[in-house]
Amino acid sequence: MSHDTHSEEYHPHVAPISTYFKLLIVLMLLMGLTIFAYNFDFTQMFGEVPGTFANNIVAMMIACTKATLVIMIFMGVKWASKLVKMYVFLGFAGLGFFAITFSDYGTRHMETEPGWEGQKQLKITNVNAPVVDEEAVQRATVGDGGH
């Protein structure tokens, strides 16, 4: 795939400066939008969802949009080869692996609370259970007070 193609002249892609400038403007606007969203309460808009959650989602959505734009245009992935696109994808897909861990932090509270509620005194079910060495216990009890 590599050696056999002998292109005469190699032409890298060159995007015009105006494209970059337009992107800059859009990015600035998006930044303004995040700041606006920061001071805006989404609770009513999203109904039951708590404000923190909605706000976080909005903030992250804006950030992701910005990131995508930067990657695609500033970094030129839009015009890049399939291989590059594949690795860009792989890089961000790799972050997905971390997500499994949320099933740890998200479910810890669901486990039996290793707590204090089971403070049961021992109920002797069988008082006549054979004592290993009656006498020994006797002597030991007599022998020493302990405190």
């Binding site: 590599s2 291989l83 499994i100 861990t101 740890d104 669901m110």
Partner: protein
Amino acid sequence: MSATSVGIPDVPKPKEEKNYLNNGNTIASWLLTTDHKRIAILYLISVSFFFLVGGTAAGLVRLELTSPRGIFFENETYNKIFSLHGIIMVFFFLIPAIPAVIGNFLVPLMCGARDLAFPRMNLLSWYVFISGGFLAVLAMLLGGVDTGWTFYTPYSSLYSNTQVTLAVFGGFLAGFSSIFTGINFIVTIHKMRAPGLTWFRLPLFLWAQYATSVIIILGTPVIAITLLLLFAERVLKLGVFSPELGGDPVLFQHMFWFYSHPAVYIMILPAMGVTNEIISCFSRRRVFGYSFVAFSSLAIAGLGFLVWGHHMFVSGQSMYQGLVFSIITFLVAVPSAIKIFNWVATMYKGSIRLQTPMWYGMGFIGLFLVGGLTGLFLSSMASDVHLHDTYFVVAHFHYVMVGGTIMGYMGGLHMWWPKMTGRMYPEFLGQLSAMLVFVGFNMTFIPQFIVGYLGMPRRYHYYYLAPEFQVYNIMSTLGTTVLGIGYILPVFYLLWSLKYGRKAGPNPWHAWGLEWTTASPPPTFNFATVPIVTSEAYDYDAVSDEQHDFLREEEDAAKAAEGKE
């Protein structure tokens, strides 16, 4: 095309030709080289050094454990010794062993390229590796590290007053060195294959290296950041994992194993790749189910990232999380099974030659099988509760790492020794040491399975609380002696062969693969002309090869040539 016409005719007869070894003899020509083959040799020397250091530590550990109360050391010293053993063996021997030595040497050769894509970065990777190794050794000399190779917090961050900082930084650097190697391999395999060498004609070793490199670039940065935070916690008093600050020590374990489980596949996949080459070459057969074997490497790489929590079943992670990790772990067993069964099937109707690499290859299958299957005891949560952090785990991972990876590494070293040095190693000693390693290995680690099941915890200096473990420990130590001899032997005869070994032709095994079409040792730029590949992968033919005993033929030819002179 049958293998009898393997590219020898294409290659000019090796006279006293310039090759990569005699092309410059100054120290600078070695230390400033960008030739992947020379860098591979630099790596070979350094990892061998680290192996001997780690191996000596292993010997001391075993010696000390023959008595329930120890013999020579204090607790603290023992702890430092096994930590040294683990850190050196994992970060400075096993992870670089196959990729950076055999891989570095072979990836461009197998691709038909003149060098890796980024030769200077390759050299840099060696320097970074050596600096990391230097820091680790320095840490040992300045008093040692006593955290175990896992560096669990908060012991490593707040309690241990040994040289953790240095060692952690050494590990950090080693990580970067393997990142550089990984990047190089990925680009080389993608971009620099010879014409005609399509993905499905690639040697399976390259598939394995490719999968390994993907794991390296996705996993290693995570250990880098984790170790960096640990470093910051010790030096800058940051507190990310400190329980006093509400931090979670278990989070450190998540981060650590996020890398370190995939890392075990960084260790095993290249060895599997080597085994593919060995089994098919010495059975004179195309690898059975080529595409299944190729994709199983990628499957292992992918699934390998989703199972790290199986090291933490009793660590206090949630029970539900345990269930998730356990089932995915079982899934990883499937691609491994595919590989094993395909190798065995490759031997069917072959023309099997029991030469040293083949002994190592078969040893790999047998020992990795045991190691992998005992992994199932550990990936079963309930079963792991009892076995976790006992000698059963120690035995499991030595089976896969020593029985698997080192067998693959030794096999590869023998198979490509003629290519690397232009000399044959002594065959009898080779087979002897392969068998000593196999026998000694089982003698060392089978008793550890038993004593682990009986409940002996790992990282235990004293076991006077349960002296009945002693028998097994003595058995294990006896085995180590045999194993040690098996490992020391090659050091001597391989060095011997550099001078006295019979000269090897370009293709002593009559193996398939571009690396065998150039001289042994290869010239600096590998190929006089760009090779074009027209045959399918592993184009062997057992029926016609059955007529030949290539090694004997070459030997006779060499003798005849000598007689004429």
